[in-house]
């Protein structure tokens, strides 16, 4: 299993949600490029050497959702465990690319088809945290550039290479 990231396809626009399984890389940062490169290596080792390789494009894996975006992208620790456990148990998976996210009421940003095909069934939902998050961060603003792409703030100019220390 390769812990890939939504940032491998971070520049997927909101108009294209849910982002499909196996979407071609659209990295939002060099971090995302590293994840796309890792997926390419996993593909190589599968096709050339027969290794089973599952690339999990994890969304926001934290103890609890901490901002408006993560109400849509949260992967609860419990669901993360269930996702990896499902992948460990999947018989002969071959090469797969799937997303890791909980069953968030405000979700729908990525496909869960391939993850479910691997045996993953999410149980958690960010919604019980929504009131607290919105009270602290403000209500979701459709014009917020953080919500314009899957990768969120990583897509913004603050993450331009020249501004990274």
């Amino acid at each position: 299993m390769f812990a890939s990231s939504n940032h491998a396809v971070g520049f997927s626009p909101a108009a294209a949600f849910p982002v499909p399984d196996y979407a071609f890389p659209a990295p939002d940062t060099y971090y995302g490029v590293s994840k796309a490169a890792g997926e390419a290596l996993a593909s190589l080792y599968h096709h050339r050497y027969g290794l089973d390789a599952i690339c999990l494009r994890i969304l926001t894996c934290t103890e609890r959702p901490e901002n408006v975006r993560s109400l849509s992208t949260w992967l609860s620790p419990g669901d993360a465990g269930r996702l990896f456990e499902a992948c460990l148990a999947a018989p002969g998976p071959g090469f797969r690319v799937a997303y890791g996210v909980s069953r968030n009421t405000r979700g729908g940003w990525v496909s869960l088809t391939e993850a479910r095909a691997l045996g993953y069934e999410p149980r958690d939902d960010s919604e019980p945290f929504a009131a607290e998050v919105i009270a602290r961060c403000g209500p979701p603003d459709p014009a917020d550039p953080v919500l314009a792409h899957l990768g969120g703030e990583f897509c913004l100019p603050a993450f331009d290479a020249g501004r990274l220390s």
């Binding site: 812990a3 890792g38 894996c61 620790p77 993360a80 465990g81």
Partner: protein, 67 residues
């Protein structure tokens, strides 16, 4: 007894998965550049994933890995 190698085990996701992937009869082999303390049914390898010899040894006997 199946052994699972977990690279980046001291990281945010690694730390969360460590307890959740514990299972009867399973050994978790935790690899990180940062120091870790092995719990029950855990092994610790302190090294970098860029150290080929160390990573080759860490993979020996592992049935699955998560990186």
């Amino acid at each position: 007894m199946p052994t699972i190698l977990m690279t980046g085990a001291a990281g945010q996701v690694g730390a969360m998965l460590r307890s959740r992937l514990a299972a009867p009869g399973r050994t978790l082999r935790l690899l990180d550049v940062a120091p870790l303390t092995a719990g029950p049914a855990e092994e610790v390898v302190q090294s970098s994933v860029t150290d080929l010899d160390a990573l080759t040894r860490a993979c020996d006997g592992a049935e699955a890995c998560r990186g």
